[in-house]
């Protein structure tokens, strides 16, 4: 499930550039298998997409599970240049590589290159969902200390919530009052000697509240990557409204003893597309009754019905029951990946796509860009979020922007222009950066002007075509840009 309008008060608990303060402790078996992870990370500069930001040192935690694999958070190891793993009370760092990463559920697996690292270490076992109010213990390296920290608390809530790392995804998470601080990210949360979760985020608005990723999502991740490829958490692909109002239930003719949730919208190309209809009442999922707020029983808790999809794999079947036109219908749907584009989720490990022509910098609008300072303007917000909801037929593959202008005589007068949303080039619709690239390359040689028009601007942006071509190389050289475009979404991976 995703929440496009979710407000984020959470903070990832990975610590960047923290001071190291050694603290001595006597390790036991669990503690020996909890590591400090140092990530020298470099992320792209979304304002100047051909450039990288300065290198950061991020600190987090991880722990050994089966097959010499270290489980941690995706946000601990994202955009990595070099990854180092330290054992408890040991100053010697070991080089590690990312084996698998799941940005949607903020999980990653690492492997240390040196086999000696694993000597005398015991993999930790995964447990289950803890009971409410039961005691848990969190291990990790908060504030980057060289020695392991252990804190204890109780499980205070089990619920669905937004995962800050991808930004758009919501999954099951468990809340505890055990101190989870920056640097704890990726560390295990245990109960009775077993791992019951991975610490990953806290809430700035609440005191002493931390969150960990529960075991079902971890085991789903581990199963997903068994074939060597991560496919992602499936999603049903519907938007719903509660039926808490009894009049609405009567209006729909729902039997008195039946509850359910109203389907407002079925997202095109989603798992539900062609199976569930807008206006259906979803009454059961995997034989569990859905209540009027859309919750199902999950252990001791009521949790949103989406839980039944997220613990499965893409391609699995899901049984549902809907109330449609006065009758119950038992249906099944084949689970698919979330129906939204990659641009809706925070991007990691990839270099931004861009194209430069006549000193104009074209990019495809995405979450990273719109959340960069100064870019959350009404027009970009409409293109990013509202157009698909309100005018889905007018949606293009990508929203192309002239994000900025590299001043040159060919674009004189446009140097202050920012975030010009391109609708057409010489009267033809621009659907993607690749589209634009081809259109510019296939421009007839006798073309006088390239005219970019926007639904949002009255005045088109016009360049002299020949001058733009003539000055292309000199503009790139003047601004120290090696490539005029990146259209292949190059991987921003460990370059060692």
């Amino acid at each position: 499930m995703f929440h496009s309008k979710a407000k984020f008060y959470f903070v990832l608990v990975c610590l960047w550039n923290a001071a190291l303060t050694p603290v001595l402790a006597s390790p036991d078996k669990i503690e020996q298998s909890v590591f400090r992870i140092t990530n020298y990370q470099q992320s792209p500069n979304w304002q100047s997409p051909w450039k990288m930001k300065p290198t950061n040192r991020g600190l987090g935690s991880g722990f050994l599970i089966q097959d010499n694999l270290i489980l941690t958070n995706a946000h601990v190891v994202s955009d990595s240049r070099i990854l180092l793993v330290n054992k408890i009370s040991n100053p010697e760092p070991f080089l590690a590589d990312v084996v698998a990463i799941a940005h949607d559920s903020d999980l990653a697996l690492l492997k240390v290159r040196d086999a000696n690292f694993y000597q005398d270490l015991t993999p930790l076992e995964l447990g289950g969902i803890p009971e409410l109010r039961s005691r848990v213990r969190a291990y990790g390296y908060p504030m980057g200390g060289q020695e392991l920290s252990r804190t204890e608390g109780v499980v205070s809530r089990i619920e669905f919530g937004t995962y800050v790392h991808p930004g758009i995804d919501s999954h099951l998470l468990i809340q505890t009052d055990s101190a989870i601080n920056p640097g704890n990210s990726g560390g295990p949360v245990t109960q009775s000697g077993r791992v019951i979760g991975v610490a990953f985020q806290s809430n700035l608005r609440l005191n002493d509240v931390g969150y960990f990723i529960p075991v079902p999502l971890i085991t789903r991740f581990l199963s997903d990557i068994e074939d060597g490829k991560y496919e992602g958490v499936p999603e049903i692909g519907i938007e719903t409204s509660s039926l808490v109002n009894r009049h609405y239930r009567r209006y729909l003719g729902l039997p008195e003893n039946t509850s359910g949730i109203l389907v407002d919208r079925v997202i095109p190309h989603s798992s539900a597309d062609g199976v569930i209809l807008s206006g259906d009442v979803l009454t059961k999922i995997e034989d569990k009754q859905i209540d009027a707020a859309g919750m199902v029983r999950y252990g001791e808790q009521q949790v949103t019905f989406f839980i039944e999809a997220e613990n499965r794999q893409i391609g699995d079947l899901l049984k549902i029951q809907v109330w449609r036109k006065g009758k119950f219908h038992n249906l099944s749907l084949s689970l698919k990946a979330p129906p939204f584009g990659a641009e809706m989720r925070n991007s990691y490990d990839e270099l931004p796509e861009y194209l430069i022509f006549g000193g104009l910098v074209f990019i495809a609008l995405n979450r990273n860009y719109i959340h960069s300072p100064g870019n959350l303007t009404p027009s970009l917000a409409y293109e990013h979020w509202y157009r698909e909801l309100e005018r889905p037929r007018t949606r293009r593959d990508q929203v192309i922007l002239i994000s900025r202008v590299l001043p040159s005589s060919v674009n004189s007068g446009y140097s202050n222009l920012r975030n010009f949303i391109v609708t057409t080039l010489n009267g033809k619709s621009v659907n993607s950066l690749r589209d634009l690239d081809i259109m510019l390359k296939e421009m007839p040689p006798d073309t006088l002007h390239v005219v970019f028009e926007s639904e949002w601007q009255k005045m088109p942006l016009v360049l002299d075509y020949k001058k733009s071509l003539e000055q292309q190389q000199s503009v790139l050289e003047r601004y120290g840009i090696l490539r005029s475009s990146n259209l292949s979404a190059l991987q921003n991976k460990d370059s060692q």
Binding site: R250, Y386, L463, D464
Partner: protein, 531 residues
């Protein structure tokens, strides 16, 4: 989060225009203060604006003090029309901000201790001007109307020193000197009006409605003074306002009828077939009112207004003020109704357009500009509070509402067809208080749900954009009332724009009246609807 008590009267004039090279400051003789005892009075206004979040309530009372100037409406030569009933009598002139939403206006003469109650005769909120009357004849005894003179340019050898009044107490009036910084074109954001305005310095003790003097002549009226800087409306504009006030139906001040942009990119100019030697401005949007709105088209390249050639940045050589934005022509060169030729290049061809100088108007836009003096319009049904989206409502998010109000609501301000939920055609009339406006389709919102047992499950809904009620498209608040009269079944159904907290709600027809009564009693709401 909405800031309930943030005042929106702070929205003022932002200044644009050409700066002048100031000559050396010369010292002029301090004007005699005594004549002002018969021409200016102190004004105290108790203002209470409406609470647009709780539209049946008013906000806290606030008090403002300033001045009002004694005026007489000028004679209109060869006037065939019926004239204002106040033609022969004296009136008081002050700023609209001083008296907007006033519950009581008191004016005090320097020589009479007790205040007199004034009543609003006319307010032009766009121009920030208002006329008041006082029915007690005793007040007018020995008072004299101000004689207005045009303000002189600071570029001339005359002293650029100006004077205004400084009121230490009701009995202690003094003159305060300052100087004109420039004559500019001010944009009044609350109304979208662009009008000539004087920027002054040194008159920090002055206030709204104070006179502005130059060479012992009255050349303007102060609109606001703050931190050593002040803005004043020049006498020429005041005279035009008074002249229009004397007519049978008031028209606002002359105004341009378009938005424009510079066209300094050679490639763009070539594309529009505009010769490089032709200076002018590119018409980006034609307004539904104002000069040229009847003949110009978006995409025209305007090169001349009357005999004045336009520069690449929209300036003309004004005979008094030198290089200035063309809007300054409305100061003293054009009056409403004057014939005017506009030279444009349209699709590569030069043409001359014939038009008349036209005034600023309420333009019937999707989101109406700020209005004062009228109660908010609303309808309550089953606890659903329906309101039209207005600048008054958006202002409830505080002075930074342009960045803080919900983004989907702010999108309607741009007049961009893509984001409109209805065709933006004129749909007849819309009323506000006792005033009727031609209007485009509005955006109707459920701004909040007032809790009741009937709407349990809907109570978190806020700022949801209404598309339909009972299958009827909702373009105005009156549509809401009519739609509720015609349910399609035993339930009323309301549909919202996708992206709202939920897409639909239903309310049982039979229980609605009872719920409305409960809500009215529970929340002490005087009326369930106000149109």
């Amino acid at each position: 989060m909405i800031i309930k008590h943030l005042s929106f009267y702070l929205l003022g004039w932002s200044l644009f225009g050409a700066a002048f090279v100031l000559p050396a400051v010369l010292h002029a003789k301090v004007p005699d203060i005594k004549p002002w005892f018969q021409q200016a009075v102190l004004l105290k206004s108790y203002q209470q604006s409406y609470d647009w979040l709780t539209p049946w309530e008013k906000r806290e009372i606030r008090t403002q003090t300033g001045m009002a100037l004694v005026v007489r409406l000028p004679e209109i030569e060869n006037s065939q029309k019926a004239e204002s009933p106040f033609k022969q009598s004296l009136l008081l002139l002050t700023t609209a901000e001083m008296v907007a939403d006033a519950t009581l206006i008191e004016v005090t003469r320097k020589d009479i201790r007790q205040p007199f109650q004034a009543k609003l005769v006319l307010m032009d909120y766009a121009a920030n001007l208002a006329l008041l009357k006082i029915e007690n004849n005793e007040f007018w005894d020995k008072l004299k109307p101000v004689e207005w003179s045009p303000v002189k340019s600071t570029a001339k050898p005359d002293p650029n020193n100006i004077y205004s009044l400084k009121i230490k107490s009701a009995q202690e009036w003094e003159m305060e000197s300052g100087k004109i910084e420039l004559m500019a074109v001010g944009h009044r954001e609350v109304s979208g009006a662009w009008l000539p305005i004087l920027k002054l310095s040194g008159v920090s003790k002055s206030g709204q409605g104070f006179p502005l003097l130059q060479d012992n002549e009255t050349v303007g009226m102060i609109l606001e003074a703050r931190s050593g800087e002040a803005k004043a409306i020049p006498a020429e504009m005041l005279l035009e306002f008074l002249e229009h006030a004397g007519g049978d139906s008031y028209r606002s001040l002359p105004h341009r009828g378009f938005h424009w942009r510079k066209l300094t990119q050679r490639s763009t100019a070539d594309y529009f077939q505009i010769p490089p030697e032709k200076s002018g401005i590119w018409i980006s949007r034609v307004l539904p009112y104002g000069t040229g709105s009847d003949v110009l088209q978006s995409g025209d390249y305007l090169t001349k207004i009357g005999k004045w050639s336009l520069s690449y940045d929209g300036k003309i050589e004004h005979p008094e003020w030198g290089l200035s934005l063309f809007d300054l022509l409305f100061l003293d060169q054009f009056k409403v109704g004057d014939s005017l030729k506009l030279a444009v290049i349209r699709k590569g061809k030069p043409i001359i357009l014939q038009t008349k100088v036209s005034p600023y108007e309420e333009d019937g836009r999707t989101v109406p500009l700020k209005r004062v003096g009228y109660a908010p319009r609303y309808v309550i049904q089953g606890g659903f509070l329906f309101q039209e989206l207005t600048m008054n409502y958006l202002s409830m998010w505080g002075t930074n509402w342009r960045s803080r109000a919900p983004v989907r609501l702010r999108l309607f301000l741009g007049q961009n067809k893509s984001v409109m939920i209805h065709e933006n055609n004129k749909t007849g009339e819309s009323t506000s208080g006792n005033k009727t406006f031609a209007s485009a389709a509005r955006v109707v919102l459920v701004t909040q749900v007032i809790p009741d047992q009937l709407n349990i499950g809907y109570q978190k809904l806020s700022n949801a954009i209404v598309l339909q009620i009972n299958g009827r498209q909702i373009r105005h608040l009156k549509d809401v009332i009519e739609a509720f009269l015609n349910p399609e079944s035993e339930y009323h159904r309301i549909d919202f724009l996708p992206g709202s907290d939920r897409l639909s709600v239903v309310l049982p027809v039979k229980e609605l009246k009872q719920s409305n009564r409960r809500i009215q009693n529970n929340f002490r709401i005087p009326k369930l609807q106000s149109l």
